[in-house]
């Protein structure tokens, strides 16, 4: 189990997802320990974190966790709020503050939002999708809740390295797109492996009586992709960036429909 030292309390903990190190500082050593446990595999020893958040713990939340997230731009800051947290982040200083209760799930949501904002500028995005690496190539399985993201991840054969069963991390790289592991998990309740590989295909999931892969048109591919990209900020500039990235992605990565029977045989098609 990670042990938080006095030095760690002063320097905080660096969580690095997708090559973006974010330093998290907090006065409470127990909470820092929770962060280290929650993000095991993504804790970095990097001294030069590009972004920094000061976390202030409050005894009780202002509202429920299932409240909708609000992300707005105001006077040079991104403001992010939900019932259980309130965060602000200044992109020009790369610093921010989070006020939240003592639970790592609030921080999880803040990190997801921050990464969507950072990725938008870099031509990437977070996607509601499970993903895995097989034979050196990444496969993404996308769909709404109940579509089978966790099911297909849990059926993965031993030679497949699971990147996530819930939120896939997509970044551009030398004219292609790569998938990177994330600690963001769904029903599988364990973080993905911190690995990276070029994306071979994106499958839009559907459950059915047989396993089959179907080609789909570009418009349906864009529609399916955009429907599953994490959108938090209702902001014209942000929407434009993500919209154009979705078109670029569909132009470079095959997007297909995967209908599957929920058993391991579906992985015979994923090679």
């Amino acid at each position: 189990m990670p042990v938080v030292t006095a030095a760690a309390r002063s320097t905080g903990v660096v969580v690095e997802i997708g090559g973006l190190p974010i330093r998290l500082r907090c006065d409470d050593p127990n909470f820092l320990r929770q962060i280290e446990e929650r993000y095991a595999g993504y804790i970095s020893s990097a001294n030069d974190a590009r972004f920094e958040f000061e976390i202030e713990l409050s005894p009780q939340s202002a509202g429920p966790r299932d409240e909708d997230v609000s992300v707005t731009w105001d006077s040079g800051h991104w403001l992010m709020t939900r019932g259980d947290f309130r965060a602000e982040w200044n992109p020009s200083t790369a610093r921010g503050r989070v006020r939240q209760t003592v639970n790592p799930y609030s921080l999880d949501c803040v990190l997801r939002i921050v990464h969507t904002l950072l990725l938008a500028r870099e031509g990437g995005f977070l996607l509601h999708a499970s993903s895995a690496i097989r034979n050196g190539r990444a496969f993404l399985f996308s769909g709404v809740s109940g579509a089978g993201k966790t099911t297909i991840a849990s059926l993965a054969p031993p030679d497949a390295a699971l990147l996530t069963d819930e939120i896939s991390y997509v970044i551009p790289s030398d004219g292609r797109f790569d998938a990177v592991g994330t600690p963001f998990y769904g029903e599988l309740a364990r973080p993905g492996l911190n690995l990276r590989a070029p994306i071979e295909a994106l499958y839009l999931l559907a459950k059915g009586p047989e396993n089959k892969i179907e080609e789909i048109g570009s418009a349906d591919a864009v529609r399916g992709l955009l429907g599953n990209i994490l959108f938090f900020a209702r902001d014209p500039e942000f929407v434009n960036l993500v919209f154009n990235t979705a078109f670029d992605f569909v132009g470079r990565v095959p997007v297909r429909r995967l209908t599957f029977v929920p058993n391991a045989s579906v992985w015979e098609l994923i090679v």
């Binding site: 991104w78 209702r234 014209p236 500039e237 929407v239 919209f243 078109f247």
Partner: protein
């Protein structure tokens, strides 16, 4: 006499063509629209200064076998729907600058 209506494309949108089909996404609610042929014609002509009835008469009725009255009624329903999602701006006066502030660089 009914006043003329003017339509302009909002700047709070993202738009791109796939083949001949424009796809438009609202920045206000992230709704995605694929515009059909008629909608594409109106979208392309929505410059804020050409009245809707003129767009219908000169663009729609010139291309399709439809009466101006029927085409205008359909066009009204279409622009109302697109305006509800923030894709089009509607006015009884010409819209010279259909702008939404882009704000500071994030």
């Amino acid at each position: 006499m009914t006043s003329r209506r003017y339509v302009a494309r909002s700047k709070a949108i993202a738009a791109r063509k796939l083949g001949e089909e424009p796809m438009v996404m609202s920045a206000t609610d992230s709704t995605l629209f694929t515009l059909d042929e008629v909608a594409s014609v109106i979208w392309a002509a929505a410059d804020g200064v050409t009245p809707l009835d003129e767009i219908v008469e000169k663009k729609i009725c010139a291309l399709y076998d439809v009466s101006p009255e029927v085409a205008l009624k359909d066009a009204e329903a279409l622009i109302e729907n697109l305006a509800e999602h923030g894709l089009l701006l509607l006015s009884d006066e010409p819209l010279v600058e259909a702008s939404v502030s882009q704000g500071e660089t994030r």
